[in-house]
Point group: C2
Chain length 385, copies 2
Amino acid sequence: MRNFTFHNPTKIIFGIDSTNEVGKEAKTLGRKILLVLGQGSIKKIGLYDKIVKLLKDEGIEIFELEGVKPNPRVDLVRKGIEMVRENNIEGILAVGGGSVIDTAKAIAAGLSYEGDVWDLFKYRKPIKPTIPIGVVLTLAATGSEMNGNAVISNMETQEKLAISSPYIYPKFSILDPKNTASVPLNHTLYGIVDILSHVFEQYFDREEDAILQDRFAEAIIKTIIETTPKLTENPEDLKARAVILWCGTNALNGIIGVGKEQDWASHAIEHAISALYDIPHGLGLAIVFPHWMKYVLDAIPHKFANFGRNIWGLKGEDDFEIGLKAIDKLIDFYEGIGVPTKLSKVGINDEKLEEMAEKATLFGPIGNVKRLNKEDVYKILQMCL
Amino acid sequence: MRNFTFHNPTKIIFGIDSTNEVGKEAKTLGRKILLVLGQGSIKKIGLYDKIVKLLKDEGIEIFELEGVKPNPRVDLVRKGIEMVRENNIEGILAVGGGSVIDTAKAIAAGLSYEGDVWDLFKYRKPIKPTIPIGVVLTLAATGSEMNGNAVISNMETQEKLAISSPYIYPKFSILDPKNTASVPLNHTLYGIVDILSHVFEQYFDREEDAILQDRFAEAIIKTIIETTPKLTENPEDLKARAVILWCGTNALNGIIGVGKEQDWASHAIEHAISALYDIPHGLGLAIVFPHWMKYVLDAIPHKFANFGRNIWGLKGEDDFEIGLKAIDKLIDFYEGIGVPTKLSKVGINDEKLEEMAEKATLFGPIGNVKRLNKEDVYKILQMCL
């Protein structure tokens, strides 16, 4: 196990109707708050009206930045930074999924930087202390509600890049399963793939002694595989929604990743795909991950054998063989819940594979299980076709 | 799953030689620091000298409160409170195991209360904001390094009671496996029993939908059962020490307990035993827990069956039967590593069973799986003989 520092100060308020706490909690952000919102779904379900009322009851002055899209754009981040500066806004409340939260984080990070916010992503300029962020989560997927990461897309340069900083952890996150209940089934499932993919990035690495973290990772995977069928059967099952919601947060709040080497090549590859094709992040991950797994299997067959034995109950002596079967089990699971695992099934052909491979390796080779250069990524993308 | 708030702001600095960070971290507590210490073992291993040098290098003025014993006493807490008040001390650094940390927390809690500190324990007076605490942990057991709990004994009244408050979470905890390597094997094993017992208190309850938390709990149990034999074979195996250390922290930092009903009757019973007999807490728990399990098995046989199937790999249809076998497996595990599971083996006879039962139920019935009154506790203690 590697040395690590773990410090996750986000306060989680979890449960049915925990949304009612938003006024009291938002007050700790300041009196003038920027509400960052998606494309209107929270208005349809009445959540917008409810939150605005609760904030106003606390005497909070509200400013609104609406229209965050999946694969959130830096343009809107720039607009948000301007709004905060012009109106002396004291805190940001993100109401939505990962894209909305990441937009809020990028606004906060950009605020305390004198130049253009994209410099923080592209040139990895240091992020400084900034105004606080609160979250009301509406989608189980990203984990962004309890970490210091944000991923933003720049459509002009066709880049999708990440930042990470202790200063952009949400101060609080309200996780009310009711707020996730109206997410359509396909996006619910993409969220579930996203959660599993976060686990895989940390679980499949070359670290040998982070035993508890690996068992924790398996706990999340098993819980998701056990719970997902309940949601495909009844998407309004709030108990199952609650379980998946809590899995999503724990998949990326540090507890399964501390002391591990981790990999994250598959995310870089997916970011390159969705920067060019704008497909849902979770869908892209369902396509990339199994093929990345097959490509690196021979480097850590014993890890994939753990996946086979501890998750899928596979028996046998040969680690490589068990690992290969386990990857096929994962493909079966994805296809079984209606999530495709091939680029061709989402209308992407081999036209831009080279451009994607180029983009994914923009900063040099990616991943750790195997260091992947442009040629490796190209080969994995070919396997994805 | 129940609604919950999870907010654990403790910063963990984990790994070999992380002790070197103590100066920099302690400086964030203040310039005048009370060092709370045990009975001298840290002087023998050179840790005391190392820490004092690192603190002095940062210009920190040190005051010392030495002599914390297992089952730490309120008398020393009172002495600490006096020292802090007299010298305008700004922060507390606990260097030791759970007893030392709990003493530091009780001092901090008592400081912001005008009356006698024992009122906080006995009459559950509210705990107010207070000075910050830092930790250098030397024993994997308590979990106190990453929570807001403290347990203190009053030898005068022969009571052992707990407090809990958001204001006494350590600001930071340094977890250096090297600092736990010189703990004698028997106390290492009592620590391991303590960790498992914390997991059991949260795992065996009546909550049905906290699926991830239960899988997390099983992850800790499995990791400990897998790792403990490495330590009995070679107590200086630092990799195994690191794994156990991280298990101890996660067993009681909230992640396996949030959203659960939990039980905690066995701890109340053990506290009554060690208030009268001053045996190590972990040893007491190894005796109480298996018999509590047998006493409540019929209330939640499916939970004990999970324990049997997911931990011990037991097969079969009958939950009660699997549960009973699983409890025997636990007894075998404890006896196999040389930890007794009977009161008679540690020289305790039936003389004070009634007094213990009385003490354990001081505030009324205990536990949740079954609400245990004095008579129930008496019966469990008889089973422990």
